[in-house]
Symmetry: C2
Subunit: 328 residues, 2 copies
């Protein structure tokens, strides 16, 4: 299987992705063999509050990479919630992506968010490695949502796009705050909507709040005010804000240019190696957590666990006492 994957055979890739998603021994063995062939792809994480049009934007990014000179091979890993309710939403995504699916330079894979968090991040990392080894130049990792689980997933990327839109409610500010911290590039999508100036101003304000002296803020449009702190190192990355309208492709060439600039910045500054280290740390932590929990589950019989729960419900043991009993 690994050889066929290295040669980019779609069926072999697809099968291995399934093995990796299900964390099978065959998948684990193949990942061990393939890992030495990874490290070439540019991993781009895309996240943001709900309602920001991330899927359409990801499709457009992929299409524009395909139209670039030379065209790049692009893989998309879309991490979707899976539930009895999602039939429609997931299907909708697949239909929207159909325009890309006839292209052999594009590979699209959706993944369910079922199962443990550790498991999901582990699976996403493994799938990205398969696609990296298979020769895809850019791997777009898209997460639906903006919770901490999504943050863990985009931490597996070299470059993180955080997507926002004009006109989301105030509550969203708090959500955005949590993910702004990990952004390398901010995208203001649906930029043809009213309120785009105000949204950009708000983002700028949050960036300044977060990095009052560390980062210059580059931005687009009329807001020419920037911070110019004296201690900004010359090789610091300036978090840019890019406006896009995914439905008519406007702003996409500029966004791709910025993605290329960020990759070049990482490579020139030595941050690429630091990012790799941090990415692999995230993956290793997820793997450790997942493995420790699996080992523990295999050690405890269902009966033992059930009895501990009974005692908890009866308040005969506290949760920590039950823990001590179960961990022996």
């Amino acid at each position: 299987m690994p050889d066929a994957v290295l040669q980019g055979e779609r069926l072999a890739i697809s099968r291995l992705l399934t093995e990796v998603e299900n964390d099978t021994p065959a998948g684990q063995a193949a990942l061990n063999q393939l890992f030495v062939h990874t490290g070439k792809a540019h991993l781009v994480g895309i996240t943001g509050a709900p309602g920001t049009g991330k899927s359409s934007l990801v499709n457009q990014i992929a299409l524009h990479y395909r139209k670039a000179e030379p065209p790049l091979k692009v893989a998309i890993v879309a991490v979707d919630p899976s539930s009895p309710f999602t039939g429609g939403a997931v299907l909708g995504d697949r239909v929207r992506m159909r325009e890309l699916s006839g292209d052999s330079g594009v590979f699209i894979r959706s993944m369910a968010t079922r199962g443990s968090l550790g498991g999901l991040a582990v699976a996403t990392a493994g799938m990205a490695q398969v696609l990296d080894a298979a020769g895809f130049d850019v791997i777009l990792i898209e997460t639906v949502g903006a919770g901490q689980s999504e943050v863990e997933i985009v931490k597996l990327a070299h470059t993180v796009l955080v997507v926002d839109v004009p006109g989301l409610g105030d509550d969203v500010q708090a959500i955005k705050a949590g993910i702004l911290e990990i952004a390398d590039i901010l995208v203001l999508n649906k930029a043809d909507r009213p309120g785009v100036e105000a949204a950009e101003r708000a983002l700028l304000g949050m960036l300044k709040l977060g990095h009052p002296t560390k980062h210059l803020v580059q931005h687009h449009g009329k807001l020419e005010e920037v911070l110019a702190p004296a201690d900004t190192a010359a090789d610091d990355w300036l978090i840019p804000i890019r406006r896009t309208v995914a439905t008519d492709s406007s702003g996409l060439p500029e966004l791709l240019e910025m993605l290329g600039k960020h990759k070049a910045h990482l490579q020139q500054s030595g941050d690429w190696q630091r990012r790799e280290r941090s990415r692999l740390h995230t993956q290793l932590q997820g793997l450790v957590q997942h493995t420790l929990m699996s080992q523990w589950r295999n050690q405890i019989s269902d009966e033992e666990y059930s009895q501990a729960l009974d005692k908890l419900v009866a308040r005969e043991l506290s949760p920590r006492q039950a823990l001590q009993a179960l961990l022996g």
Copy 2:
């Protein structure tokens, strides 16, 4: 400390919550002693997509419980993202809650989402137990966001409110889908906005998709169409949809009535015990995960870990091989 907490002394409660949040030995010991006094409070989890006005709704629920006859003692645990960017958002919440803070029958505590996920769910569960033992009748656990971490947190509740609003984008459907699954009551907040009928219809459609035969769907307003499957057991809970406008309190009395009905339903059907079991299972899993990771971190020296990471970055070891080296 436990005695003062049992007597409801605010300073003692506040200090113990800090110990529990920081997972100190004193906090753990106090929780062991207090656990036998828990199990009385009605734990209500509130979640939903961003922008739905959850905080205002939670404040209104608390105010209405205080005005009830007899007034109930209410605690709020608000789980907020913590980052250098959130100063404003968290402060905003605190200001909004000021109207409640002079009332000795109300206790409000915010918690950061920093640190490990396991740690956060563990801390939330522990804090709810402190407040339960301290005599609060209702504990409202509010989470910002709609990711899997938030789902883990609301699973600690007896009753889960999922909040939605008219007019959120299509992307939000997928998010909603993931959390609809855990809803006991659906709240359509900001119901004075245009599009409320369409939003209610969409929710109804998703409920039908998820539970085509298992649940009747009760709803409010003009949509009188309901499923009436023959195999619906008499004691099945019918997921209601309630419209609210948190800013002017409309729909709040009806929502409180529904919360009371759900509690009564749980108690009469025996589901209260099943819920307790499932709640405590969630808490125990989180505790196990947190503890296993801590134990492992204490076993591995920083140097050992750093060397494994070096080998990963150099592609000398695969992640799974590094894992095996680190787990011995």
